[in-house]
């Protein structure tokens, strides 16, 4: 039992520690593509360290929501990390607390409170940012719902540890619905974590920012928590894409848990994430941020992929029963 708890903890620690590295790598690679040197891949750790030591300014008129939100944003990805296979292929004690729906709701909770906190300060940019991010989430919602339908139809389960075994089986791994679902999820992840073509994470222009304008009033320690939480959210979403929906390889099998195999699983996950980061760098270096009113088209396309996946999986009778 004690070792199971340790394994559970090590999953959380991996999420906590590795998360700031991914945006650093993406930033650095993007700069290299543009023939610049770019910041070190460790820049986001330095930022967090700096922010954690600085003082915090809290707007006078803000309520408790403003102060609670950073902790929620920080805690929700960690809670989801307990539900999904980050390192182990077998469910850990807390894995049955919730299924994929629960994970989605927990992540949505953090996002919801971020929007509330942005409105709480009654700053113009905060209101604009939260209304825009609500629009993006609203448009992503149909895709996510149909995506869950599709995954459930294929795998006949909603528990991530069961789903990944079913989807990576020989009949489904390269089947059309599976590939379409993965593509749809990647598009939704890009939209939900505020990346190009929906939002430009490197932009400092207030009128065009979506994700960043929601945290514009935060400073010091609270800002560090918000940013770290955002990075962990991205990490958790990528983990869901890789270890639940597409390629759950390199996970620690049942009964083989040791510090060495755990580290190996973490390395495997990291290597897979590097591939996805490469894809993201290609997308962000070739595509410009889309106009806000064209975002429905982007998310419409992801909805299309998810729906096609569901229709095809339904009619070819894919899934475990085949």
């Amino acid at each position: 039992m004690a070792s199971l708890i340790l394994q559970q903890l090590s999953q959380i620690v991996v999420v906590l520690v590795v998360a700031p590295l991914l945006p650093g790598i993406i930033d650095r690679s993007k700069h290299i593509v543009q023939s610049k040197r770019g910041p070190s891949v460790l820049q986001h750790y330095r930022d967090l360290w700096k922010l954690l030591r600085k003082g915090t300014v809290i707007p006078e008129d803000s309520s408790w929501i403003f102060r609670v939100t950073p902790y929620l944003v920080f805690a929700t990805p960690l809670a989801v990390a307990m539900l999904i296979p980050v390192l182990t292929a077998y469910p850990l004690p807390y894995a049955f607390m919730g299924d994929m729906l629960a994970g989605g709701f927990i992540l949505a909770l953090g996002s919801f409170f971020t929007s509330c906190a942005a409105l709480d300060t009654s700053s113009a940019f905060g209101g604009m940012g939260s209304s825009r991010s609500r629009v993006v989430s609203l448009l992503a919602e149909p895709t996510i719902i149909v995506l869950l339908f599709g995954v459930t139809l294929l795998a006949q389960a909603t528990i991530p540890f069961v789903v990944n075994q079913a989807l990576a089986g020989p009949t489904l791994l390269v089947s059309a619905p599976h590939v379409l679902l993965a593509a749809a999820l990647l598009m939704v992840i890009l939209a939900e974590s505020g990346r190009i073509p929906v939002d430009n994470p490197a932009s400092g222009f207030e009128l065009s920012m979506i994700e960043r304008s929601r945290t514009i009033e935060y400073s010091g320690r609270l800002l560090a928590l918000m940013e770290w939480g955002g990075e962990m959210r991205f990490f958790v979403l990528l983990t869901i894409l890789l270890n639940v929906l597409t390629v759950p390889w390199g996970l620690v099998p049942e009964g083989a848990a040791s510090p060495l195999t755990m580290a190996g699983a973490a390395l495997a996950l990291f290597a897979k994430m590097l591939v996805v980061c490469g894809v993201i760098v290609v997308i962000e270096s070739t595509v410009a941020k889309w106009r806000f009113f064209r975002i429905p088209e982007y998310l419409g396309a992801s909805f299309l992929l998810a729906t096609l996946a569901t229709i095809t999986s339904y009619l070819i009778g894919a899934g475990l029963t085949r």
């Binding site: 390269v174 059309a176 379409l180 419409g300 096609l308 095809t312 009619l315 070819i316």
Partner: protein, 215 residues
Amino acid sequence: MTENVLELLGALLLLATFRTVATRRLDGYIEAFVQQSVVLAAIAAVVGWATGTADLYVVAALTLVVKAGVIPVILRRVAAELPTERGVGTLIGPPASIVLSLLLMGLAFFATPSVAVSGTLLNEPPLAISVGIVLIGLLLISTRRHAVAQLVGLLTMENGLFSGAIAIAYGLPLIVEFGILFDILVAVVVVGLLVTLIGREIASTDTSELTRLKG
């Protein structure tokens, strides 16, 4: 394994078809058609390999040359000669078109299982995809006002029929296939000429302006 590969190619074919509906630019239509034809050629080659039909390799090569080579060149040339105009495009915008074609696709998927087809290597999905592509081509023809876009709609329908023939009967006899390819090539040349003439005559390629019938 072959089944999986064909399924994937079928999905790619669908995506390329949806791209014709989702695009706003004239180039987009042509690019999407090229993609569609390349995927179609790949499907023909894979089915040929799986069934040991040598004819299908020839068909695949011909498809590549004619549909992904010659026709796009002609279409681009026609498009380059036309007066550039903005706003001639669609009766309904891309998002609505995508939703409509999704509905058509669903219709095709639910309607085709009732059509009993026997003796096929791969049953319903490829046939359903083909019927769906024909319907989407029809949608393109009826909702796009630009003459070149309508032409792409026609070609899309033909691609759907072609993939349907492969799905049901491993392709048509080679001589028929030749005939069809030659036919659409001539059709594209004729329509291209016609479009260029229309463009010169009324300085627009908006087919909704062609209202008077002259003998």
